[in-house]
């Protein structure tokens, strides 16, 4: 007898495939009822994305859950963030701040534009990036000119700018960390907090 032998899996499992399945072969004819039971439902879609907690330079790994189909122009929304159990640094754990990171993402007070409160003013007002960068550069220059320490008391060249410090980010790559150091140390800033510190 010629047998029709094929690699059986669970591979092409659609409603039709259930007609030739272990279930039907044993005399359980439930395939149609099953197909009917799910017909009214739509599929929901979520994603899990690896990310890094932005709070401190420990840089704990996180998994970010988003709901919605971004590929179909629907708005994806972050639903949940948890520690990444596969990340060697935190092994799935997060500190209380990191565990509350979802509220940080969704915060109504989240800063979206440069804001400026002029000396003596009570309110912040929105300003352009050009204004903000010019203002920061000008103030930094003034402060550096006033406080830069080229040599210490023993006459040794140190080139320090002790009155400024920089807090950057923990979610940067090694290369970005290197550039951060090059730029900031070039100005004389010693107090630098970012991932490259560790």
């Amino acid at each position: 007898m010629q047998l029709e032998v094929s690699r059986r899996g669970f591979m092409r499992l659609g409603g039709a495939a259930l007609a030739t399945s272990t279930m039907s072969a044993l005399g359980f004819g439930a395939g149609e009822a099953l197909a009917a039971s799910v017909r009214p439902f739509k599929l929901s879609r979520a994603t899990e994305t690896r990310s890094t907690c932005p709070y401190c330079s420990v840089s704990c790994g996180t998994l970010v859950y988003s709901l919605g189909d971004a590929s179909k122009n629907a708005r994806a929304e972050i639903m949940h963030i948890e520690g990444d159990p596969d990340h060697p640094v935190n092994r799935g754990t997060l500190c209380p701040r990191g565990a509350a990171i979802l509220d940080f993402v969704r915060s109504a007070q989240r800063l979206k534009h440069p804001m400026h409160r002029a000396p003596g003013a009570k309110e912040f007002k929105r300003v352009s990036w050009d204004f903000a960068l010019d203002r920061v550069a000008k103030l930094m220059k003034e402060d550096r000119d006033k406080n830069f320490v080229a040599k210490n008391n023993d006459g040794v060249t140190v080139n320090r700018w002790p009155t400024a410090a920089a807090f950057t980010t923990s979610t940067q790559s090694n290369e970005a960390g290197l550039v951060t150091y090059k730029v900031l140390r070039g100005t004389g800033i010693v107090g630098i907090e970012n991932q490259a510190r560790i």
């Binding site: 047998l3 029709e4 032998v5 094929s6 690699r7 059986r8 899996g9 669970f10 591979m11 092409r12 499992l13 659609g14 409603g15 495939a17 259930l18 030739t20 399945s21 272990t22 279930m23 072969a25 044993l26 005399g27 359980f28 439930a30 395939g31 009822a33 099953l34 197909a35 009917a36 039971s37 799910v38 439902f41 739509k42 599929l43 929901s44 879609r45 979520a46 994603t47 899990e48 994305t49 690896r50 998994l63 948890e82 520690g83 990444d84 159990p85 596969d86 092994r91 799935g92 754990t93």
Partner: protein
Amino acid sequence: MTVKGSVVSDPTKVPVAPEVFLRLPDRARLHARRAARFAKLAEASPMGDFLRFLGQIATAQGVALAALPAPPSVDAAALGRLHDHGMPVFGRSDHRRGAEWQVALDRILAGLRGGAMPEAARTALDEVAAMSRPDREAFADRVLGERLAAHELAPALFVGAALQVYWIWRAGALDASRLVAMQPDRLCPVCGSAPLCSLIDLRGLPERTRYLHCALCEADWRYIRAKCADCGSVEGLAYHGLEGVESPARAETCDACKGYVKILTGEKDAEIDPFADDLATLGLDLKVSEAGWQRAAANPFLLAG
């Protein structure tokens, strides 16, 4: 960092949470739990009768497993050689089965015989019972290779159930902490099988670790989250469920290989069982298949196609 009142000044000495790479099934309780899970899930399922029948099989498997003697020990040197060559310990295609699997098969058949089942199932049961031992061996090879003719699907269920018992029994002699990942790491370190599904359950270490579950020997081995359990891609993955339905099952679909493997999350429901919950959420498979992804993992209790 302070540990139990003493200060640890050397950061390399700070104790870290344990990590578990591989878990072997709890042989004493696995099948009773599964039977209970099948019974519970059958209540709300359109395929309830089939699930109840699989519950009977699980019970019979448990009896057959408990009746086997202690498994032969595994030589540490042999284990080392296998690992050196990236081989599973009891490979599903190359392990020389002992006669115990046929003893288990006879016990499973005897255990089922008194229960209720459709006529076609009883015919298949009798067919397996009447097979000669060499025929059973040849049939077992085809079951393990998933190379079956359409009319062999029904008897394959019983043979597959016995092979499962055999592999669980044989793996019982292993020290789970000594097993290492295969290449590719989606294959079972014990028997080299592809995974049935993946699990995030309450026993994971670290917490929320994902394990792949072996369809044959029922070992769980660690597999990083958000990585395709079929092709290993870490891009183009999405998690699909039925909209508005509370379910432990999601389909981890991969746009790189167009395949998917189900992922079961057992945080709310500690009783989830990889086989029972996989089959009880078959409706999700139908919808995901319709949407164009192919199921990558075979369930030996429901072969199709």
